[in-house]
Every structure is written in C-alpha cells, then in structure tokens.
C-alpha cells in the first residue's frame, strides 16, 4: 500500500465545486480518459443509440440513469462503446482487453447481474496474475449500481460487494459521497488490478463539494466521517449517511459516535477501524447488504480478533435481513437499515 493519509489531506484542501455523485463519477471518467488513450468505456447504452443515424451524440442516453451522458460526445464511439446485452461477453472482453494493453472501464448496469458474468470476473481477470506467476495484470474497472431504495425490487436492488470482497485478486470500492466517488474512481482507473466500483443508485442525486482537477484518493484509507468517543460505527456506502443521521440523533442524548467509512473494502483499512475501537471500546457495523458472510461480519470478525482486548461490549451489526429486496415501499423501508435502528442498536451497547 503506497497510500498515505497526506494524500487525503491534500485533497481536502484543494478548491472544490458542488456536484452530484453521478456528476463526480462522470468527471473522474472524463479526466482519466483525457489523460490516457488506453482508457475506454463500454457497457449497455453507455453512449446510447449506437448506429442510429438521426441521433446527435448529445441526445444519446448516456446510460439508463444518464451517468455517462456526454462522454461519447467528447471521446467518440470508438472509446465509448455501446454493447449488446451480453454481460459475459463484454465484461470478459474488457478483462481480455485489460490483460493485453487497454485500461477499460466496463459498466455492469446493476450488480444483481453479476451472475451473468461472474466467471470472467473472479475466475479469469482476478486470477490471471496469480495463476500466471505474476507475469500478467488486469487493469480493468467494473462500475456497477447497488442499493435498495427506489423500489427496483428483487433483481435490481442488491449490494453483494461481500461476494467480490471475498474473492482474491479483486479490489472493492464503495464511495459514499461525490468527493469520494470522484477521487476513488480516478484511483481505480489508474490501478493495475481488477477493481469493482460500487455506485449506490440512491446517492446519484446527492450533492457535495468535490475537489477540482485530478485529485485521486488512495485505496485502503478509511475516512472518519464524524469523530466521536463513545462508539465506533463503521458504515458502508449509503449507510454512512444513515449512520451520520443516527449519530446526530444520539448526540442529542450525549452519545458521541465516531462514523468510519472504509471506502474500500478490499483492501480494508484495518488500522483506522481498530484505532477507533481502541478509543471507543464499542463497535456497530452498518451494512445494507444481506447479513450472512457479509462485509459487516468481516469487519466484526476483524475486531473480534485484533481488537478484542479493547472491546467493552458485544459487536453489533445492523444490516438488511436475510431476504431478497422487496418491492413494496413499506417493505423496502423495513429492509434498509434506518437511522432509528442504528441508534437503537448503539443504545443497546452504550
């Protein structure tokens, strides 16, 4: 790990602009694509309207959520490639291209579709370097949407970053803010390994201050989103905001929660989490993913081993239940960890 906290500090002091999470993602791609002709973008309708004669590129979709809108105008259809609906085909092509000289960004529209292309990810791209004795690399970024909250139902709302974090050879990134989205995606694109980049669809419209220019955020460096002394809350992706809301609620009662956003799950910044727990003696992990063999469980296991002696209370997890994501709004609301649930869990152990 070459990353240092200094890099992060530098980023924080740079000039900023207000933009949405979606814009920040796009901005990172634009910077990286300007910078390096080997960076290409491919996916279903990432440009939109390929081979439609009457369509001006500025009117093209830019993805179903418009996240990649405008990129085809600047970089052309040779670098912003619409693919057929053929996840194993085009994700695998991105992997093969990465192993032979390009640095592709491939968009897997929803993470729930990983079952259509997982072999090419975990079994091919992620294992090349190891199986080939260190003589290959696979610098591909797979951007994908996660998260419940828009009634997208059982096959368009999952998280499942745990599945990728489990797999050796993959790096996993889950930004919670526009600034993190931009900075981490820049790092992801320049990284020489296979990176899964999880964008939370509920956060796309969220606005925030984002440093200008080419300011990358290193992997493996957690961000303390809120300082506190009474309990450590580690929260992932959108759950950072639920945790911060819970922390506000708790603060009203005099409970000061420290909220840590690991930002990358693989590599994981063990040290920051363990240091925080050494200070607060209590841990709650908040994860929107299903609970079994989850990132939440993984972080709990880390602390139950390396941080055991500093713990004063059981480690609590607040996660989605062990169920698929329901469609109906009241069910979906019950499914996603809420600030209330988080606060209640904290109260159980403080």
């Amino acid at each position: 790990m070459v990353a240092t906290a200094t890099t992060v500090a530098t980023a924080a002091t740079a000039a900023t602009q207000t933009m949405t999470y979606a814009e920040a993602v796009r901005e990172a791609m634009r910077i990286a694509m300007r910078d390096d002709p080997r960076v290409i973008l491919m996916g279903e309708d990432v440009a939109g309207g390929a081979a439609v004669d009457h369509l001006a590129d500025e009117d093209a979709w830019g993805g179903p959520m418009g996240v990649t809108k405008g990129l085809v105008q600047e970089f052309g259809r040779d670098r912003v490639l619409d693919t057929p609906i053929t996840e194993a085909g085009f994700i695998g092509a991105a992997v093969g291209a990465a192993a032979t000289g390009l640095r592709p960004i491939a968009e897997l529209m929803f993470v729930d579709f990983f079952g259509c292309c997982m072999d090419q990810i975990f079994d091919q791209g992620a294992k090349f370097r190891y199986m080939f004795g260190g003589k290959a690399s696979c610098p591909v970024v797979i951007r994908t949407m996660i998260g419940a909250g828009v009634s997208a139902a059982g096959q368009h709302s999952g998280c499942h970053y745990s599945v990728f974090t489990h797999m050796p050879g993959i790096k996993t990134v889950a930004p919670s803010t526009p600034a993190d989205a931009k900075g981490l995606l820049l790092t992801a694109i320049r990284d020489d390994d296979l990176v899964m980049f999880f964008e939370n669809k509920v956060l796309y419209a969220m606005k925030g201050e984002v440093p200008d220019g080419d300011v990358a955020i290193p992997f493996g460096v957690a961000d303390v989103k809120r300082e506190g002394s009474d309990v450590t809350i580690v929260a992932i992706s959108r759950m950072v905001h639920q945790a911060l809301a819970a922390a506000e609620e708790l603060a009203a009662d005099g409970i000061e929660a420290e909220v840590i956003d690991p930002r990358t799950l693989s590599p994981l910044d063990d040290a920051t989490i363990l240091e925080s727990v050494a200070k607060t003696h209590r841990l709650v992990v908040v994860d929107e993913d299903n609970p079994r063999c989850s990132a939440a469980a993984d972080i709990a296991a880390l602390v139950a081993d390396k941080g055991f002696d500093t713990l004063d209370a059981p480690i609590k997890l607040v996660t989605a239940p062990h169920t698929p994501v329901p469609f109906s709004p009241p069910l979906e609301q019950a499914y996603v960890p809420s600030p209330e649930k988080i606060a209640a869990m904290v109260r159980e152990i403080v």
Partner: protein, 334 residues
C-alpha cells in the same frame, strides 16, 4: 431453415370461431388498457419502481397464449404485463401488485418486473434479460418427464437474443427435443440500441439454423399471423418433435421504460407503426367480416375499462403489506 410467413390476413381464421376471436380481441384490449393506465398511474406517482409497457405488442402475447392452458408454462421478461394478462393472471392482483399492495399477485413483494402466477402457468416476469430461457427448458423438461402433455413458451426480446442463455437453452432444447417454443418479440430495440446494431443476424429467427430447429419470422402486428405460426410451433412441441424459434416483428408504442425520452426513434417511425396498431387492425377485420359491430366492440371496451377502473380503485383502497412481511416467504422452511 428460416421461413418467413407471407400471408393474407384472412388465412388461418377459418378455424377461429367468433367467440374465440372476440376473446382474443378482449385480451388485447385488456392489455392495452392496462398499459395505458399503468403509464398514467406511474406518471401520477402511484406506481413505484421501473415500469416497462407492452402496448403495441399485444398480438404476440395473445396470438401465442391463445393456444395454451394452465398446464402450459410461460416465462416472460421485464416487459411482462401483456404475457401475464394473456396467460390469464387476474387483473385485480396485477394492479395491486404494481402499487405494492398486500392484495397484489405477489403480495407486493415482486412488483411490475416480477409478477408471477405459477398456478396459471406463468413463471414470472423476469428482471434479468435472458433469464427465462433455461427456466422454460426446465418447465418443458418437467412436462416431458412427467408426461403432462404441456408445453413451455419462452418470450424474449431482440436484445435477449445475444445472451448466452439463449444459445445454451436452444441447444439443450434441440438435443433433448424439449416441448418448448422460443418466441422472440423483436420490437427493434434493446433499450436505446437498435437491433441492427446489437444483433449480428438480420433476423433473430435465422439463428435457429445453429440448432437445426425451425425458425419462423412473422408479422408481430398481425394477430392471425402470430396465432397461426405459434399454433404450428406449439403443436409440433406437443407432438414431441422439439423446439421452434419464432420471431415476431413488433413495436413498442411507449419508450423502453416510463421516463424514457426516446430520442433514438423518429416521430415518423413511431407513427408508421402506430398506423399498424394490431388492435385497430383486428377491430377492422371483425367489423369487415361482420363478426362484430362497432357497438359490440365498444361494449367490450367499456366493460374492460370499467373492470380496470374498479381494479385501480380496489388497489388504492387496499392496505400495504405489514413491515414484518419483509421477513416471510424466503424459504418453505428454515
């Protein structure tokens, strides 16, 4: 191997009596009415999530499903409302499901993209493009193994024809001679991407050759053309002679999903297809042939609208599921 069916609208209707024809008309109008209302309700904020409308493609679902009964199984797509209605799923439950109500077909747990009614042989709309191919093979394998006499029909889009599951399933169905019919609804686009870009075959049905099974192209805006070709394919499947790939050239009148700005289609193209509206065509035919008067058809239409309005009223009045319902129905036992 590919047969493009050229036909007169009159052909093949000899076998169809008035009652059947009016039944098919009714189903098609039911679908159209359902979709128009769903679009409006979505815009009004009554329907959460993603909604993909089937309007324009009614002749395909109805032309095919008119040959099926409850023992026959269909798999569907994320554009599944039409298939559901054509297969006999109750409208009341579907409307409630769109709203996420406890009275929905799936108790509000599935929503538009996952309406299913296994008892009716409807194995689910499917949020995964290409997800239905292997499932249809499985349903056909059940029919074959248990000797039920049933067939399976897999509806899929032009975009789905590039998924690996298409290939794997057509090969499997071919070598096992499974009683299954693969029905491609080629509406010209996968989202914003036109078929001539995403698909290397001029006709999807052309791909039947790779499996040495029949491939048939029909005009998907013509109910009788679909009905006839589907009838042959389904009869063939029931006789144990294996699968058929049937491609219906059709068109979706709305965008890919509600909210789509549809910049990728020209106004002219949309109008050209709207002029060939399959329901208007059937209506004209029924009147020309003296099978129904304008008034009789209007009466059917009103009945459908009334029933649908009733369904919406009921769904609006129905309760949402209780939050604890989130935890049920994951396993049969655990």
């Amino acid at each position: 191997m590919v047969v493009t069916q050229e036909r007169e609208t009159e052909a093949g209707t000899a076998e169809l009596d008035r009652e059947t024809l009016l039944g098919m008309y009714e189903r098609m109008v039911q679908i159209r009415t359902f979709e128009d209302a769903a679009g409006k309700s979505f815009a009004a904020g009554l329907v959460p999530g993603f909604v993909h409308l089937y309007a324009g493609e009614e002749a395909v679902a109805v032309g095919v499903c008119s040959h099926l009964s409850d023992k026959d199984v269909i798999t569907s797509t994320n554009r599944g409302h039409g298939h559901c209605i054509a297969k006999g799923v109750e409208i009341e439950g579907m409307v409630a499901e769109l709203m996420g109500k406890a009275t929905g077909t799936c108790k509000g747990k599935g929503g538009s993209m996952h309406i299913a009614d296994v008892g009716k042989g409807m194995l689910g709309a499917n949020g995964i493009v290409g997800g239905g191919f292997p499932l249809a093979c499985g349903a056909a394998l059940t029919a074959k193994t248990l000797g039920t006499g049933g067939v399976a029909v897999c509806f899929f889009g032009d975009g789905a024809s590039n998924q690996g599951t298409f290939h794997e399933s057509l090969n499997l169905a071919a070598i096992w001679k499974l009683p299954v019919v693969f029905v491609c609804e080629n509406n010209g686009y996968a989202e914003a991407t036109p078929v001539h870009y995403h698909c290397s075959a001029t006709d999807v049905a052309n791909r039947a050759g790779a499996y040495e099974i029949p491939g048939v192209v029909v005009d998907g805006l013509d109910l009788f053309a679909v009905y006839e070709a589907a009838g042959e394919a389904i009869a063939r499947a029931r006789r144990g002679e294996g699968p058929t790939l049937l491609e219906a050239k059709t068109y979706r009148f709305y965008g890919h999903f509600q909210g789509d700005t549809i910049t990728y289609r020209t106004e002219e193209e949309v109008l050209r297809f709207r002029e060939r509206d399959p329901i208007a065509g059937l209506k004209r035919y029924l009147k020309e042939q003296g099978l129904a008067t304008e008034e009789e058809l209007d009466a059917i239409d009103s009945r459908i609208v009334d029933a649908l309005d009733g369904a919406w009223e009921a769904a609006k009045a129905a309760p949402f599921p209780k939050p604890e319902e989130t935890l049920t129905d994951v396993y049969v036992s655990y």
